[in-house]
Symmetry: C2
Subunit: 276 residues, 2 copies
């Protein structure tokens, strides 16, 4: 059996991608990971498509300089806006978070009535809807999407079960509930932290975590290519951030489940796109 000891590259606009990394590490504990959080330019969700594509190219080029065997775009906005472009310009597999979650949602929904929540940019691209319709083929599905722009700041402030968060969440999901969804895609890497609250609001709805689906998909692709590491050691993650934001280390544990040790700052000025 083949193997590949090179690390897996993961990038996000900031901290949310750590909720994807969490599942990647859990499912592939013998892999090495290089994580880049573009904290100097977070959030991507309020930037133009052109700017998001430039940033995604720079992040990917940085990871390729670290000799990664795969790039995981652990950010829904960048996956929605920049994935095709990255895949066309990169020799290693580039995996976004949208396709894996879209497929699992279609497979897990019995009624075919599926909800998607995400940032305003992610929802406006309809990337989840398109991926689901493509995968469902001739099966009839019904997709209802809504943007939940306040969920990211509420999660970052730790108001995971606050009454205010509940009131805002009720406003957001009311139209989805009215449409009778049985499955809801958490289409933003911050949202899994709201799973308990969302489950309370909609106990009969299946919640689909894009990070968990993506990690499963990443492992399957590497397995298929004979490119998993055969190391017997528990491997480590190297963290890079583009700005030493005070909140990164304090919030990181909430997303990753373990402490982020010693993130290394890499200045935005040093990010280039020449390798891509």
């Amino acid at each position: 059996m083949n193997s590949d000891q090179r690390p897996i590259g993961v990038f996000d606009s900031g901290i949310g991608g750590l909720s994807v990394l969490k599942h990647l590490v859990r499912m592939m504990p013998n892999e090495r990971f290089v994580y880049l959080g573009d904290t100097a330019r977070v959030p991507y969700g309020n930037k133009s498509a052109e700017t998001i594509q430039l940033y995604a190219r720079q992040c990917s080029a940085f990871l390729l300089q670290h000799n990664v065997k795969m790039i995981v775009v652990a950010c829904n906005t960048a996956s929605a806006i920049a994935l095709d472009m990255l895949q066309q310009n990169t020799t290693v597999p580039v995996l976004g978070v949208i396709t894996p979650a879209a497929r699992e949602a279609v497979d897990r929904s019995r009624s075919g009535v599926i909800g998607v929540i995400g940032t305003r940019v992610t929802i406006s691209t309809n990337a989840y809807g398109l991926a689901m319709f493509h995968y469902a083929g001739r099966r009839h599905i019904d997709v209802h999407s809504t943007a939940c722009p306040l969920f990211v700041p509420l999660v970052e402030e730790g108001l995971l079960m606050h009454q205010a968060t509940k009131l805002i969440a009720m406003d957001y999901v009311a139209p989805l509930q009215a449409n009778g969804i049985d499955t809801l895609v958490l289409g933003c890497t911050h949202y899994p932290l709201l799973s308990p609250l969302l489950h309370d609001l909609m106990p009969s709805v299946t919640l689909v975590d894009c990070g968990e689906c993506t990690a499963r998909s990443a492992k399957a692709i590497l397995e298929d290519r004979g490119a998993l590491s055969d190391s017997l050691e528990l491997h480590d993650t190297y963290f890079y951030i583009t700005d030493n934001t005070p909140s990164f280390v304090s919030l990181a544990g909430r997303f990753l489940g373990t402490i982020v040790r010693d993130p290394v700052r890499v200045a935005v000025d040093h990010l280039v796109t020449t390798d891509l």
Copy 2:
């Protein structure tokens, strides 16, 4: 009497500074203004001091290239972190939003027990407290500050009177009320939009709008220098933004009170610090 027809430069990390510009235009209707919103890198409040200073220098240099007679730093974070540096390196007057509001708060408070709310970075610098103590001199004042990080996204989502905003605001201001403040500085350019809600919560507390105070101060400085425009025409504002973010134009009206016409994009790559 002398006069100066050059425009007044105003910059902010994005849209909040428009609530300052609103008062500048109202008080000096015959002036021309050049407004730069650094929308490609908003928000500044979660960046490191080093990064905020770099961005503030680049914004100021851009305004100086437009031959401005004064720079108004219409952003509390940049005022707290970068004002001294800008003032030391610039020949035109550079005015931040903190000193004007701090002075008015001290003057308007009867009890001397004053509250300050702002973003996490602004509050962590204690810039308002220092400015107030400096101005109060030997008068005893008592300053209580608290960060309200969710107010910016709540305002940008237009939840100005939503029950969730009320619940979050009650959490934020409870310790200030417990300390018996009679005056509250709205130390973030987004917060004036929450004045009605905050007034409902604390009807006996005087709210101090940093933008209004800064505009008054800017006019006084220009008057003192004989540098107001003597044009009899109603002058205009030129808007520049570093990214064409979809929300800028749609939100701008809420902050400025009138429509923002045709903002011109200036790429971040074209911002330099050589003039500063």
